[in-house]
């Protein structure tokens, strides 16, 4: 092989001078002191999040130790546990209990509906279908929260599509019977606890599907085949093989469904009864009542509950499925 040396040789220095000016000097400085650059890059986001977010959380905590002067309605900026004392009134405990029960039910229902979708997507959907499934979950997840709630207001209204549909298939009596029940019933689904529950499940469902699918993707197919080879029925395979392996994903998804339900105040306000949830209480206390300390103390409740929840989830290995 012959090589023609076409590149002209050049009498260039081996080490070039700095390109000079501000840019050259800065570039050399960043290269020589990478920590300076790192610090400069980290400073804006850390200052922002530190001041705006962490600062606000500290403000929240501070406020919860203040109290409101009942006569003037002004916030008394002195340390007191009085506000937390107010929080423990029976009416408020009722609100907390109602919210936690709802969050638990919503989580269970989401898991039950999410599982078949996630299982199908993980095990049977291929190529184009897989992408389609992914989009079919992502689009509702990202589409407007309020519009989704509004859609259920339309569906659940007394004169709406669901009542009409049930009447068409002659099941109107079932709906009436259900609405006549205490606690879950009401004058129509859109002003009942059942309606609140359906809307919650609908809005948070995608948050359950994605982590469950992620955990099912990791179950080797041959494990399921081995189970049926050994004579297990589909039910036994599900109970003994599939479910335990999908559990971390379900727990990961439940962190979202549980936490989001605990903190939501818009769904029960638009679809539901006049009985309050934690979020509504926070909103009402800071707004109309002007009692920011009590609102803050109420907001600390979901933080504490989620703290315990996350601690338990971590023990179940849920964070690997996120």
């Amino acid at each position: 092989m012959s090589v023609q040396a076409t590149l002209p040789t050049r009498q260039a220095p081996a080490v070039l001078p700095s390109s000079g000016g501000m840019r050259g000097a800065l570039s050399d400085l960043f290269w020589r002191r990478p920590r300076v650059l790192l610090l400069l890059m980290l400073a804006p986001p850390l200052l922002w999040l530190g001041i705006v977010y962490i600062g606000s959380l500290i403000a929240l905590l501070l406020q919860s130790f203040f109290s409101i002067d009942e006569f003037s309605g002004l916030i008394n900026r002195q340390f007191t546990l009085k506000t937390y004392g107010d929080l423990l009134q029976a009416a408020n405990l009722d609100i907390i209990l109602r919210t936690v029960t709802m969050a638990a039910l919503v989580t269970l229902a989401s898991a039950a509906i999410a599982f078949p979708i996630a299982y199908y997507a993980a095990r049977y959907a291929r190529g184009r279908w897989k992408a389609l499934f992914y989009l079919a979950v992502m689009l509702p997840l990202w589409s407007s929260y309020l519009v989704k709630v509004y859609a259920w207001k339309l569906i659940l209204a007394k004169e709406g599509i669901l009542t009409w549909l049930l009447a068409k298939v002659h099941l109107g009596w079932l709906l009436d019977g259900w609405l006549a029940l205490p606690y879950v019933g009401g004058s129509s689904l859109s002003v009942s606890a059942t309606g609140t529950f359906i809307a919650f499940v609908y809005v948070w469902l995608p948050f359950m599907i994605l982590p469950v699918q992620a955990s099912l993707e990791r179950v080797p197919t041959n494990l399921i085949e081995a189970s049926s080879d050994l004579g297990a029925s589909p039910g036994q395979t599900f109970r003994n093989v599939l479910f335990p392996l999908a559990l971390p994903g379900i727990v990961a998804g439940s962190i979202f469904t549980f936490s989001l339900t605990l903190g939501d105040y818009i769904i029960p306000q638009i679809i539901g009864t006049s009985r309050l949830f934690i979020g509504q209480a926070v909103y009402a206390q800071q707004g109309t009542a002007g009692n920011i300390p009590l609102a803050a103390a109420f907001a600390v409740v979901p933080i504490v509950i989620m703290g315990f929840y996350l601690w338990g989830a971590k023990k179940l290995g849920a964070f690997d499925a996120l």
């Binding site: 092989m1 090589v3 040396a5 590149l7 080490v15 050399d28």
Partner: protein, 335 residues
């Protein structure tokens, strides 16, 4: 003459790890220089010290007489061919090659012309419009080479340049790199863990071990006269002989080495005094042109290669070994 690259007592420590330890070395202009060693021996760190990606903890480095400590890579007239080629995926081949000229502010027409020439040099003319992703491994490597050469570096650094290629391609590239280097006259410094590659391509080889240079020299010297047990062991397959054994033959109590092909294997036992070494054949290994014999001489493991077709003893049989005294090489290490 000013050396192309000069290391004076250079150390690079990462915490407690001494990647390069008090190392001194001169590389001459126009030389094809190989840094050979096992992984973790400090050869790649040396290359990165020349390129400017690492800074010495102690000592000084100069490139063509100019001090290089504290000089960022972009101000060094030195270019690197990376092990994974590191081509820019968002640019086509021509713009990849022209990148160095572009950031120096060379006009578009001029830098594209130079890039075309560099591509022709590495025998990829007309590939400019393709994307790196559309090229084979060998082609990518040529592009990486063209991208470095187009800047006319004073020193070209190659980090395991042939490691990712298959055997046939590797042999072709070895020849090509060598003739390219001859034609351009640029100092090439290349890092490899493959002693065959180092010995066949380089004008001089430095053998690295634990952050230090065990031996520098021409390939023949490294091969035939290893300075230490490590070099004898790592480069090729010399027999390493302990001081007691060497003393019997040379009178000096030092470590020695003996090429396997220098050993003659005579059938039948009964070696007397200093005329031969009694040994037992442990295993034979047929290699095509030669056969490699594993022998046990009273606990000392030796290897010998004999031409194919020689009369061979059976495994387990006693033989007598002999060799010319001149072929016994005494190493620097004493007892």
């Amino acid at each position: 003459m000013t050396p192309a690259v000069s290391f004076q007592g250079v150390s690079r420590h990462f915490g407690a790890v001494k990647a390069v330890d008090a190392l001194s070395l001169d590389i001459q202009p126009g030389e094809f220089f190989a840094m050979l060693g096992p992984s973790g021996s400090g050869k790649t760190t040396c290359l990165r010290l020349i390129a400017g990606f690492e800074q010495p903890t102690a000592g000084s480095i100069s490139i063509f007489g100019e001090r290089a400590e504290g000089v960022p890579p972009y101000r060094r007239n030195v270019n690197t061919v990376f092990q994974d080629y590191a081509l820019f995926p968002h640019l086509n081949v021509l713009d990849n090659v022209a990148y160095g000229l572009m950031v120096k502010g060379t006009g578009k027409a001029e830098r594209h012309k130079a890039a075309e020439e560099a591509l022709a040099l590495v025998r990829l003319p007309g590939y400019g419009a393709r994307r790196p992703g559309q090229l084979s491994g060998g082609q990518r490597q040529r592009v990486a080479l063209a991208r470095a050469l187009v800047n006319q570096p004073k020193v070209l650094l190659l980090d395991e340049p042939l490691g990712a290629l298959d055997l046939k391609l590797r042999e072709d590239m070895q020849e090509e790199l060598k003739s390219l280097q001859k034609a351009l006259g640029i100092t090439f410094v290349f890092v490899t863990h493959d002693q065959g590659e180092a010995l066949s391509m380089a004008d001089r080889v430095a053998v690295f071990n634990e952050g230090r240079i065990a031996q520098v020299g021409a390939p023949q010297d490294i091969y035939q006269k290893p300075a230490t047990r490590f070099v004898a062991d790592f480069v090729g397959s010399s027999n390493v002989l302990p001081p007691d054994f060497v003393q019997r033959w040379s009178g000096q109590k030092r470590w020695g080495s003996l090429r396997p092909e220098a050993i003659r294997v005579n059938l039948g036992g009964g070696a007397k005094g200093n005329e031969g070494v009694a040994a037992r054949l442990v295993a034979t290994n047929y290699l095509g042109a030669t056969t490699r014999l594993a022998l046990d001489a009273d606990g000392l493991r030796l290897h010998a290669t004999v031409p194919a077709g020689s009369a061979l003893p059976r495994e387990g049989e006693q033989v007598t070994l002999s060799f010319n005294r001149e072929s016994l090489h005494l190493m620097e290490e004493g007892a």
